[in-house]
Amino acid sequence: MQLYGCVSNLPHTVKRSVVLAAAPEEVWEAVTDEELLSEWLAPEVELEPHEGGGLHCRFEDGEERHGEVELVEEAERLSFRWWRDGAGPSRVELLVDAVAGGTRLTVIESRLDPGAPALAAATWSAPLARLRLLPGKLVLA
């Protein structure tokens, strides 16, 4: 029954938040620079950190994911869709905030409806704004 309880909240979004002992600029670089990304996201990462830019990751087990950058707000927010063969796409949003003692990085990954058309950046910023209104809760956009 516990399983059903979560459904009315958020069935398809995962959120993680960490506070890092680093400056916001360092964290932003770590999430947008290919070389730094390949130190922690996947062993091989190609990323064009601008809207419409491509993303390609190869993980240690050989799994590959392709993606596309949807939104870049310099030093604050990076969002992309990514997918692997045979699986529906998901959207990843990375938010960088300065906090006491360092920088908070928040990751929100949401499974997207594979049947739905790709949303233009202009139309999906509104639901994402709603997501951010409810920190700590799993919220459906």
């Binding site: 029954m1 399983l3 059903y4 309880g5 979560c6 459904v7 009315s8 069935p11 398809h12 995962v14 993680r16 960490v18 890092l20 002992a21 680093a22 360092e26 964290v27 770590a30 730094l36 130190e39 922690w40 996201l41 996947a42 993980f59 240690e60 087990d61 050989g62 799994e63 692997r84 045979g86 699986a87 529906g88 998901s90 990085l105 990751v107 990954e109 499974r111 997207l112 409806d113 594979p114 049947g115 739905a116 459906l140």
Partner: protein, 116 residues
């Protein structure tokens, strides 16, 4: 670094997970799932009573939930009674758990990178 790819679900499960997330993308259908969890065996008429939409609209949503494997129905007199089927929800929960585990690992790696 542990491999994020380890969380990959088998392909048929992926397809089922997609169907479940598509079915649950709608707030009315999420409401129906939550209501059926509390009232197993409810009818479309009974479910419509708590919603500002018609019985026909509810029946359509139930059909979609049923196609995703989330709901089963059985005849009882003149009306069908609906019940939740937990397996697809467990698949969706597995996706959430797998993706969360992937990010925990990656963010641990990022912390080591930035704080060492």
């Amino acid at each position: 670094m542990a491999s994020p790819g380890a969380a990959t679900l088998p392909a048929p499960t992926e397809a089922r997970v997609d169907a479940v997330f598509a079915a649950l993308a709608d707030p009315t259908r999420r409401h129906l799932v939550a209501t059926l969890a509390a009232q197993p065996g409810a009818t479309a008429t009974g479910l419509a009573a708590g919603l500002p939409i018609s019985r026909q609209a509810v029946a359509k949503h139930l059909q979609l939930l049923s196609r995703a494997g989330l709901v089963s129905s059985r005849r009882s007199g003149r009306e069908a009674r609906f019940e939740l089927q937990p397996a697809p929800l467990a698949d969706a929960a597995a996706w959430i758990g797998a993706v969360g585990g992937e990010w925990d690992q990656r963010l641990g790696g990022l912390r080591r990178l930035l704080e060492s």
